[in-house]
Structure formats: structure tokens, C-alpha cells
């Protein structure tokens, strides 16, 4: 295992990571940026440096913008290590990663976690069947490989990413069989109290409206208020069934793309035992950070969607704010200098986040799609159903860690990424308490799998 010392380690080369790393380097700090993918961009800007121009055009201007960040990274002094899977970050700022079959540890003075978001689980009957993927997965196939569904595809759920994907498919000439939207008329009514703020974020709102208009004028079958979603199939997806206003619908398809929002990826921040809070609007756990993104673990910062969902533009600004926070901690800047530089950034961040309350209210995932019926699989790795989980609560389990030890849910290779939120909410509802009180899984290293031989050091 190799050891070396640096000023700052940045984990994740997405919007926040690239932006933060570049800003730190510009402040004269020795920065190492680690990312497990083969090229920068995270998920929103996935494959940005490798995408042919035609693909960038198809994916839209927001995606193409990622190229500026990637170029800034390339011309900076940041030491960027691709294909580096970080498996541990300690409270003492040691960052351990696996690269090309060997383990390395960096001793940093500060760490910036920019590991972004992941798709919220969508536990419905049949969601584990081959042919069912997240909308984000389909976007990755589009961005990294220029691949799209070969047969008319069904998009189901809600949220901007789902509609964006639909719009990107339209531009690429990919036929969409149906958009099965779980959004209901009363969601618009509920979101109305944020409408003023949304109007102040007019560029975002206009983009969204244009997108929706394109989808509508393409005459895609659009079902709204969809409930009781289920994937039918025996060994592979065959159809999506659902109801609208009580009427049963069935759409034959081999490819179902599900989406109901993204949530912060909290594996690292949880493994550090940092304080997290349950966000009642976004219905997920986020790490508690100060205005520079610092956790209650000294010297560890979070920027981007990993601190709370805000999108790519906000993530880039947060990366810069975290860089300022770290610079003061490492005595490269005074408080006054930081305050001066931060003013414009804080304003930009506020402006980028203005649309969020509206979106969070409008596209809040439905309870039935978060807290499923007894026979639905909650833990995909260990194949534990919601009903089994409720049985553990009846036995006296008060939280996810006891439930994990009783029934193995959360113990598989994904270590709770796909089931954590569902388990917390199922337990909370069964006990009649808040998700905040129930808490989350205890997350432990390795955050990414390493072999015993690699750990042993041979």
C-alpha cells in the first residue's frame, strides 16, 4: 500500500468535484482528484470529453456546458487519477483507494466529497426484472455509448430527469411508447405556494416548460396520475401495468425506465458518522453542512448533490464555495478574503436553488412508490420483501440496523444504496414515528469492494 501526503483530496469528478478541484488548485493548493470512471463528468456530464459533437448537440446545451469544466480541469495543476475507486475516507483525512489492482492511501489536510447523487429506489412489483432500469441508467447509455432503446420504450414516474430523457430521445428520433406520469393535478396545486420563487427562477422554469411542450406536441401517450405501477414479466419485463382514475392499463414493452427523483449519495458521509438530517421536502437524508459545505467532521467538506439535491449549476458553485472554506482552514486565505470572493458565489447559488422548492413539491415521489406493499422486494441484493421487514418491526426492531441483523437486508454488495431509504420509511410508517427518529444504516468501509489480497498488500 502506498502512502503520500497532499493538501486536498477531492472525491468525484462531476460538476462539484471538477469545479472545486480547479478552484483549490488556483488558490495554490496541491490537489488530487479521484474518480472511479475512466473520464471526468460524474453522471450529469457523463462522457462529456468523449462525446462526438452530434451527441452533445442531441443531449442539449446544459450537458455541453460540462465541457468547460472538463477543459478547466485538464489545464489545471490538479493531479487527476481516473479509474480510482475510493474505499475509505477517515475522520483523520486519510483517503484510501484502489487503482489498477493496487491500494493507495493519501494523507490530506482536508477532503472534499463530491460523490453526487443516485437514483431514488422505485420499489414496485417486478422492479428487479431484466429490462427494468432507471431513467438515469438510460441517460448514461445515451451519454457514454450513444445507445437508446431499440423498441418503443415506456418512461414511468416523475421528475425533471424523466422528462429531460424523453426530450433527448425525441431529438434523437427514439420512439417513446408512453410516458406514465405519477404526477397528479393536486401536485400542481400543492406546489403553487412556491410558484413565486419558481417564477423568479424563470430561465429554469422556461426550459422546463419548453421541454414539456415538446413532449406534448410529439403526441406521446401521456398518462397522468398513474397509480399501482407494476412490471409484468417472467424472467424479463414484458409490460407495465398501472391504473389511472381506477381504470386498469397495460402497456406491452420489454424496456421500462423508472424515475422518481435523485437523492444524495451518503455512503461516505455516513461512514464518517457525520450528522445527517431527514429532509422532509426531498424525503431523503442529507449531511448537515455549514455554508462552506463543511460537515461536523472537521476538515471534511461536501459539495454538489451529495449535500442536497440542487443540480449541476448549483453543484459547480458549491465546489467553489467549498474550495474557499478549505482555503481558510488551510490558511491560504483570510476570512475577509474569503468573504469577499464568496459574496457573488452565494448569490449565484441562491439563484440556482430558487427553483428547487417548487420542483420538490411538484415532483415529490408518491408514498405508494416509496413504501411498498408486503410482496414487493425492498432489498434487491438479499431479496427481502417489505412484508418481511414489517415482520421484524413486529418482533421489536426499532431501526434499520436491528432489521439488518434480523433479516440481512442491507448486507449485500450494494450495502444499502438501493434499499436504505425504503427500509427507513417502511420502519417509520410501521412504528408510527418519523424517518428522522428511525435513522439510517450504519455504513462501514469498504465503500467500494476490494479483494482480501489487495487489502493484505500482496
Amino acid at each position: 500500500m502506498s502512502h503520500s501526503s497532499v493538501d486536498v483530496v477531492v472525491v468525484g469528478a462531476g460538476a462539484a468535484g471538477m469545479s472545486g478541484a480547479v478552484a483549490l488548485a488556483e488558490l495554490g493548493l496541491h490537489v488530487v482528484l479521484l474518480d472511479e470512471q475512466g473520464s471526468p463528468g460524474g453522471q450529469i456530464y457523463r462522457g462529456i470529453t468523449l462525446a462526438p459533437l452530434s451527441r452533445r448537440d442531441m443531449l442539449g446545451p446544459d450537458y455541453a456546458h460540462g465541457n468547460e469544466l472538463a477543459q478547466a480541469l485538464a489545464s489545471s495543476s490538479v493531479r487527476y487519477e481516473r479509474g480510482a475507486a475510493v474505499w475509505q475516507v477517515t475522520r483523520e483525512h486519510e483517503v484510501s483507494y484502489l487503482r489498477e489492482g493496487r491500494l493507495h492511501t493519501l494523507q490530506a489536510k482536508a477532503v472534499l466529497l463530491a460523490t453526487g447523487a443516485m437514483e431514488r429506489p422505485f420499489p414496485i412489483p417486478g422492479w428487479t426484472l431484466p429490462g427494468v432500469m432507471s431513467a438515469g441508467a438510460a441517460q448514461i447509455l445515451l451519454k457514454s455509448s450513444g445507445l437508446a432503446p431499440s423498441e418503443p420504450v415506456v418512461l414511468a414516474g416523475c421528475g425533471p430527469l424523466l422528462y429531460l430523457l424523453g426530450w433527448q430521445y425525441l431529438r434523437a428520433g427514439v420512439p417513446i411508447k408512453a410516458l406514465v406520469d405519477t404526477t397528479r393535478p393536486d401536485d400542481y396545486w400543492r406546489a403553487r405556494r412556491h410558484l413565486f420563487a419558481a417564477l423568479r427562477a424563470w430561465p429554469y422554469l422556461r426550459k422546463g416548460l419548453e421541454l414539456m411542450r415538446s413532449l406534448r406536441s410529439a403526441r406521446i401517450a401521456h398518462f397522468t396520475g398513474a397509480e399501482q405501477l407494476a412490471v409484468e414479466g417472467d424472467g424479463a419485463a414484458r409490460a407495465l401495468t398501472f391504473t389511472v382514475a381506477g381504470k386498469a392499463e397495460r402497456i406491452a414493452t420489454r424496456c421500462v425506465l423508472l424515475h422518481q427523483g435523485v437523492v444524495p449519495n451518503i455512503q461516505f458521509s455516513q461512514s464518517l458518522r457525520a450528522r445527517h438530517h431527514w429532509d422532509v421536502d426531498q424525503l431523503c437524508f442529507s449531511p448537515v453542512v455549514d455554508s462552506w459545505g463543511e460537515l461536523d467532521v472537521a476538515g471534511v467538506f461536501v459539495a454538489g448533490d451529495g449535500a442536497g439535491i440542487g443540480g449541476a449549476q448549483a453543484a459547480a458553485v458549491q465546489g467553489q464555495l467549498a474550495a474557499l472554506g478549505i482555503a481558510v482552514r488551510l490558511e491560504k486565505l483570510s476570512d475577509a478574503q474569503r468573504a469577499f470572493r464568496a459574496e457573488a458565489l452565494h448569490a449565484r447559488l441562491a439563484s440556482n436553488l430558487r427553483i428547487r422548492p417548487f420542483l420538490d413539491a411538484l415532483y415529490q415521489p408518491k408514498e405508494a412508490n416509496r413504501i411498498p406493499a408486503d410482496d414487493v422486494m425492498v432489498c434487491r441484493c438479499e431479496e427481502v420483501t417489505a412484508g418481511e421487514l414489517r415482520g421484524f418491526v413486529a418482533l421489536g426492531c426499532t431501526g434499520p440496523n436491528q432489521a439488518k441483523s434480523f433479516g440481512r437486508c442491507g448486507m449485500g454488495p450494494c450495502q444499502g444504496r438501493m434499499c436504505g431509504l425504503t427500509v427507513t420509511e417502511v420502519i417509520a410508517k410501521a412504528r408510527g414515528v418519523s424517518a428522522s427518529e428511525v435513522g439510517y444504516y450504519r455504513i462501514r468501509p469498504p465503500i467500494k469492494p476490494i479483494t482480501l489480497g489487495e487489502l493484505a498488500g500482496d
Binding site: 472511479e36 437514483e119 428487479t128 431484466p130 448514461i140 445507445l147 432503446p149 431499440s150 438501493m418
Partner: protein, 117 residues
């Protein structure tokens, strides 16, 4: 057993000229250089990547970003690799992951147990 691919290259894109030869469960495939193993398999008509160790249920990629651990396959003799995080290589021998890995025996061939669709 291959089915009609669920994914295919978008029409508007020029076809990549560089391809790579590899095998999946002994079947030869030609796939674009630079794709992930998972993407390459999906576009080649592979719909079932593995059988779960718990119940042998069929599984395929779900998230394509290294979070779900559903895309596990055996690559060049190493089991349980996340195929969405690995780039295709010339001559790669890929096999479906049939349940838990086996320390004692390396199967000479794996009979493909694809579900007929």
C-alpha cells in the same frame, strides 16, 4: 441465448469504426471500442447478466453507474465484476455470474441458461 437487443446505437450517430472482439458465455461478439462491458452486452442482445446467489433470480443492469451491483459478470476468470465500470478489451472472456462465486472449481464452459422470451 441472445434476444433482440434492448438497446442500439442512436440513428443520428456515425458508427464507431473501432470495434473489439470478445466472448460472452463462449459466444463471439463484436462491440464498439470504448464502451462499458454492460453497455456492450446490452447492445448485443444479452438480457440476463446473472442469477442471484439467494434464489437464482435473473438480473440485469439497473443503474449503470456502479450503485446497484446488478450488472455483475465474470470477466477473464474474475467473478462478480461490476460490468458498468469496466471498459471492453480485445479478447475479453465474459461469463454470466451464476450465483455465488466458486473457489474450488472453474467451470470449463457455462451452459447458458437464458430464459426464452
Amino acid at each position: 441465448m441472445r434476444t433482440d437487443p434492448l438497446f442500439q446505437p442512436v440513428m443520428s450517430e456515425a458508427r464507431s469504426t473501432r470495434t473489439v472482439s470478445l466472448t460472452f458465455n463462449e459466444q463471439p461478439l463484436q462491440v464498439p471500442a470504448g464502451s462499458s462491458v454492460a453497455a456492450a452486452l446490452l447492445m448485443s442482445g444479452i438480457q440476463r447478466f446473472r442469477a442471484t446467489p439467494v434464489s437464482e433470480a435473473p438480473r440485469a443492469p439497473y443503474c449503470m453507474m456502479g450503485v446497484c451491483f446488478e450488472c455483475l459478470v465474470e470477466i477473464d476468470g474474475v467473478p462478480n465484476r461490476q460490468s458498468c465500470l469496466i471498459e471492453v478489451g480485445e479478447g475479453m472472456r465474459i461469463r454470466s455470474q451464476e450465483g455465488a462465486r466458486d473457489l474450488m472449481f472453474q467451470p470449463a464452459t457455462v451452459q447458458s441458461v437464458e430464459v426464452l422470451s
